[in-house]
Symmetry: C2
Subunit: 314 residues, 2 copies
């Protein structure tokens, strides 16, 4: 009995590792496809706008995990939506995400000189160009969603536009950034930290899952489940991020470690300790999985993604 | 004969003055309606986002001529589109315009402390809040267009979103701002100045006219004429603006006069002289009127508006 259970454990562990290897390969392949799509959507130009387009390309083509774009594409494929459409919507959300990073890094905001180990956009170009590049990336992310090339149905396109505006505006991502700036140096409650993250990073991750369901023209009920999955996946991602910031080395992270504590930011780790925060990440991750229990093995990638976000080391 | 023609001239002049008085009254009434709509679309909130919403309100509710919103509403009424829908689209374009002014005034951009005689948004609040308020205003302008409250037809809404994205992104307004920053201190040709203005301010004025035609579900041919009218109206407006900057007093303008020359900017006045630029403004204005010659007296307001933009003193 003991030996058998050990065998099972080992086999399940191997299986888990295999699945994680396959997930990473799938994410890398999708990231390359999204990168290619951004490259095509944002071709270089001549003349006075060249610098603007170059800055937009610099901010969006720098690699990265493309978690948001991957979510769009994986959920869309669950509903057999077209891969080209999914890659366009994935490129759109990655542009939206990039705009927020470019503006977040500005001296008046987080004042970050580095992004993924490279000079941030305002350091590589200048502040004015970074402000304008962020502005134009936001516009472009809506433009892509609204284009007939993305979907035949105007209803699908308008639903994508509305969902992105909801997730990224004053009642979403930008609202969260404002709360984050306001809260600096002040001790936040667990509830406040959860709300801050739900807005600042959660909304766009939730949108990414939802966008796949919109593209796939899922029923309202299924769209709500996918949206709840995305919401909890985003929350688990952020809690795990706090744990990583406190425990991983700078080398693993590719950015300064322990930055949150140094900035006096209220984090899950500050409120719950490393172990408590890690436990909370797992609890929320399980909750994320529960929302997609209506699906069979076709949703295994989305389940693996939940494990990935809480177990990653960078 | 002499006396008769004099009578006619006086009557026509009186008629012209009357029409200008009526136009100004119509613009004021519409500006109040648009202000009311923005106020309702952007209600105050409590909590960490309060500062963001306050800054968005500050940037959008400061009065002004509301030329863009007026254009939307006047063109929409030509096609008997609903006034509520027109006011929503007018509020949306005024928010988009306000976002561009907030970001333009930032220290890294034009570094303006005043806007319409009041502290600019980053002076009244701070730079981070101004960046975020501009970002959220852009999002909101798309959100309003995409809302079913604006129009029943998803096609109409998606066409509005696409037209606004075209006019305001890297190939429109923001592209123009980039060219403007790049061209500072460098002598531009007349052609380059025309292109700069067509992008920086012209696109959004052209869009405003076009948006009224989209709301009114005008035919493609009519929409193109309205769009051409808006394009030339915007060009005339900008040339007249150059003339005003060179000839009006600071008191008349409500802002620093002679700023263009001091900044070494290439303007129509620098290239053509005051008289030459004034003549060019009238030529482009006549061209604007010619595009709407298919309409009868119902388009008289749009004709008066052409005269208004070249004759205004502020």
């Amino acid at each position: 009995m003991h030996q058998m259970s050990q065998t099972t454990a080992t086999s399940s562990q191997t299986d888990g590792t295999d699945r994680m290897v396959r997930l990473r390969a799938s994410m890398s392949a999708r990231a390359r496809a999204i990168e290619g799509m951004i490259d095509r959507l944002l071709p270089r130009v001549e003349g006075g706008e060249a610098r603007l387009i170059d800055a937009m390309r610099y901010a969006t083509l720098g690699g990265g995990k493309r978690l948001r774009g991957y979510l769009v594409a994986e959920v869309a494929s669950l509903f057999r939506a077209g891969a080209e459409a999914a890659d366009r919507v994935a490129a759109s959300v990655e542009m939206l995400h990039a705009y927020s990073l470019v503006h977040d890094d500005l001296p008046a905001m987080d004042d970050d000189d580095l992004r993924r180990g490279q000079p941030s956009t305002h350091r590589k170009f200048d502040e004015a160009t970074a402000i304008l590049a962020g502005d134009a990336l936001q516009t472009m992310s809506f433009d892509i969603l609204a284009s007939p090339l993305t979907h035949d149905s105007a209803d699908v396109r308008i639903n994508l536009v509305r969902a992105l505006a909801d997730a990224s505006g004053a009642a979403g991502m930008v609202g969260g950034q404002m709360i984050d700036m306001e809260g600096e140096g002040r001790a936040l409650s667990l509830e406040e930290v959860a709300r801050l993250h739900a807005l600042k990073t959660g909304c766009l991750i939730r949108y990414s899952a939802e966008a796949g369901a919109i593209l796939g023209q899922a029923s309202d009920d299924v769209r709500k489940r996918i949206s709840a999955y995305g919401r909890d996946l985003g929350a688990a991602f952020q809690i795990a991020d706090d744990v990583l910031d406190a425990t991983a080395s700078a080398e693993e992270l590719g950015k300064t470690a322990g930055k949150d504590e140094a900035a006096g930011k209220s984090t899950y780790v500050a409120l719950l300790g490393v172990d408590g925060a890690a436990k909370e990440a797992r609890r929320v991750a399980e909750q994320a999985e529960s929302h997609i229990d209506i699906f069979g093995p076709e949703a295994d990638r989305l389940r693996d993604l939940v494990h990935y976000v809480v177990e990653r080391r960078n």
